[in-house]
């Protein structure tokens, strides 16, 4: 069996006296689509921040493809092939859609901090950015500043920036938050398409999305994972129903 894409062991995070993540152990297999669900304030976003190094870890270990990544900076983790999106749209507002995506591919193509190459001459960066733009359905908005896109378009761009570098471990934080039913459907199709063959971890509130996309689901309650299993098993898990899902699982 290959190494887990992400392994969390005894992961803890405290802000002052309050412990938000209270010892999380979790293995995420390469190539699986894994959803993390849980009530508000369970620590789902914090867990993402810890994995992506946005927030420093208090205790425990995080391994990315078998390598300890605790203490690395966000850009170092990104360079190791982990890319994430944000719950609150996090894009380059004054840059055009195309420039947003081109910025997202530059490092992975090895252009680093080059100030001796013309961007216009970097065909691979241009083609890659255009391919992603096509993928996320924003080709006709190519030159529009990202800041004036519609909300759903910004969310699509957010996903586009996240996957553009070709990272093989993708973290999506509530990718469909605030979307209408139609938009959600499109977003799910988009996520399915662009994460093909990659490891996907997502935090999501929409149970339709979760049960439609995920191979496995982890339920995070009050900073601890109380169950990790297939959607069907989670649906019938008594502890999960009692602790969190209640009735909402049945109406999907």
């Amino acid at each position: 069996m290959s190494l887990p894409a992400i392994r969390l062991a005894g992961l803890k995070k405290s802000f002052g006296a309050s412990e938000i993540i209270r010892g999380v152990d979790l293995d995420i297999h390469p190539g699986e689509r894994h959803a993390i669900i849980g009530p508000n304030g369970a620590g789902k976003s914090t867990l993402f921040h810890l994995i992506s190094a946005r927030t420093p870890v208090s205790a425990g270990a995080i391994e990315l493809k078998g390598e300890n990544v605790v203490g690395l900076k966000p850009f170092e983790i990104n360079r190791k092939g982990l890319s994430r999106s944000f719950q609150i749209t996090n894009i380059f507002h004054n840059l055009s859609v195309f420039e947003n995506l081109r910025c997202a591919v530059l490092w992975s193509l090895g252009y680093r901090y080059s100030f001796w190459q013309r961007l216009a001459g970097l065909k691979d960066a241009q083609l890659r950015a255009e391919a992603v733009m096509e993928d996320i359905g924003l080709a006709r908005r190519r030159d529009t500043p990202a800041g004036i896109l519609s909300y759903a378009e910004q969310r699509a761009l957010e996903i586009g920036i996240t996957i553009a570098s070709g990272a093989d471990v993708i973290l999506l934080d509530e990718p469909t938050a605030g979307m209408s039913n139609n938009e959600t459907e499109e977003a799910v199709a988009l996520i399915r398409r662009v994460t093909e063959g990659k490891t996907l971890v997502m935090v999501e509130h929409d149970m339709g999305v979760v049960f439609g996309l995920a191979d496995r689901i982890s339920v995070l309650v009050y900073g601890q994972i109380i169950a990790t299993d297939t959607p069907a098993a989670i649906r019938s898990n008594a502890a999960v129903q009692e602790a969190y899902l209640g009735t909402s699982v049945h109406h999907d």
Partner: protein, 428 residues
């Protein structure tokens, strides 16, 4: 296809624009032959480079620096010392290349000082840049061996024998030619930089440093590299200043100079590459022309800055860009009568305010220095300070102007608002 075609047209247009700017720059001394104008043009060329180098930080990377004169000033001092060092062994070629020494000095200063300042962005960067600026300015007075103390360091740009393309750089007009060449090379290089991976990632770091980190970029490194490169170009401008004035004083690296370059860049417009060019030209003209007309020029300067920040926070370039968009949407024609109508009360108000300011300035300054000087010249008129007449007249003119501006300016604003609505509505 159409994108590629429009790119070609765009590129040709840009080439034409740069070419005609260069041609105009070289033609100007043929039209204006007075020493005053040529000196003015020299100062403009230097300030264009300096302001553009500043905008690499402010506009492109989002770093508000209060100490950019440090790189400019150190470039100037090092250039002057190099000039004096090569002395008789040098020649016109060495002189022509001297701004490169200034650039390298600015770059070295950027490597050392930037390492500290660019650790953080935002307010922290602004504060540290202010601190470093004060530190270096204080050093300038503490180490007269290098900085020349109060008198500064002077030199002679005509060194050695012979000529370069017939130039000795002695006459001011030859110096102007050298400045134009250097300015164009520097401006082209700074423009090219905006079209590179580092240049684009600087914009990304400005817009959203967090996201930049999550696409693999060390934002601290991006800021550091941009500051070093910006220091280089500021140093080039410093080197040109040293050659142009043949004297460098501590003023070139103090907070006042840092303030002026911030002002130029901001007034011109930080969101556009060419914004600081406009700002540098305009402010230089204001400094020298208005400075020659009235002692109260700093006051006008301050009022103008205040007006720009309030009325056009995007700078002159943003106003131009808006007019171009209106023109492309065939809406500019509708606005022109409004602009002309608004210009009338603006001029009236300006005349009234100038009258008031000059009267007040003459009265206050006269009390100390030349007591008994009861008259002052304002807009060519001889006015008596101690009679009520000129004061009342200036006040009345101001009031009429203000009332007219309130009425016509309001109409212009509404018309502009409507035009912009039409334009944006038509697009969506």
């Amino acid at each position: 296809m159409s994108r590629a075609a429009s790119d070609v047209v765009f590129r040709r247009g840009r080439l034409l624009l740069w070419g005609s700017c260069l041609a105009v720059a070289f033609a100007l001394p043929l039209v204006f032959k007075t020493g005053f104008v040529i000196s003015l043009l020299c100062q403009m060329g230097i300030m264009v480079v300096f302001a553009l180098s500043y905008n690499m930080l402010l506009g492109q990377t989002g770093l508000l620096s209060f100490g950019h004169a440090v790189y400019y000033g150190l470039g100037a001092f090092v250039s002057m010392h190099v000039l004096n060092l090569i002395g008789k062994d040098g020649g016109p070629l060495a002189t022509a290349l001297l701004p490169l020494a200034g650039g390298l000095a600015g770059l070295a200063a950027g490597v050392v000082l930037g390492y500290v300042t660019t650790k953080k962005a935002g307010t922290t960067f602004a504060m540290i840049s202010l601190g470093i600026g004060e530190l270096v300015a204080a050093c300038a007075l503490m180490f007269p061996g290098f900085f020349g103390g109060e008198g500064g360091v002077s030199g002679n740009r005509v060194v050695g024998k012979g000529t370069l393309f017939g130039m000795t750089w002695g006459p001011q007009v030859e110096m102007y030619g050298l400045i134009v060449v250097w300015a164009f090379v520097a401006v082209a290089a700074m423009y090219a930089l905006t079209q590179t991976p580092l240049g684009r990632m600087a914009n990304a770091v400005r817009d959203n440093p967090e996201r930049a980190e999550f696409v693999g970029y060390d934002t601290q490194r991006v800021r550091y590299l941009m500051l070093i490169l910006s220091g280089f170009f500021a140093g080039v401008a410093g080197g040109l200043t040293a050659l142009n004035y043949e004297i460098v004083t501590a003023e070139t690296l103090n907070a006042h100079t840092s303030g002026v370059v911030l002002l130029m860049t901001f007034v011109g417009g930080i969101g556009f590459f060419y914004g600081p060019v406009i700002g540098a030209i305009l402010i230089t003209v204001m400094q020298i022309v208005i400075g020659g007309l009235t002692h109260a020029w700093l006051l006008y300067f301050g009022l103008f800055f205040l007006f720009m920040v309030l009325a056009a926070p995007g700078g002159i370039a943003s106003v131009i860009s808006m007019q171009r968009a209106l023109w492309q949407a065939r809406l500019l024609g509708r606005m022109v009568p409004h602009y002309l109508a608004t210009a009338i009360p603006v001029l009236v108000l300006l005349a009234g305010l100038v009258g008031l300011i000059e009267l007040a300035y003459a009265l206050l300054a006269g009390e100390g220095a030349t007591a008994g000087d009861e008259a002052t010249r304002v807009l060519g008129m001889q006015l008596h300070l101690h009679s009520a007449m000129p004061w009342a007249a200036a006040l009345a003119v101001s009031a009429i102007g203000a009332a007219g501006l309130y009425w016509l300016g309001g109409r212009m604003k509404r018309a502009l608002h409507q035009s912009l609505e039409t334009m944006n509505g038509g697009k969506a």
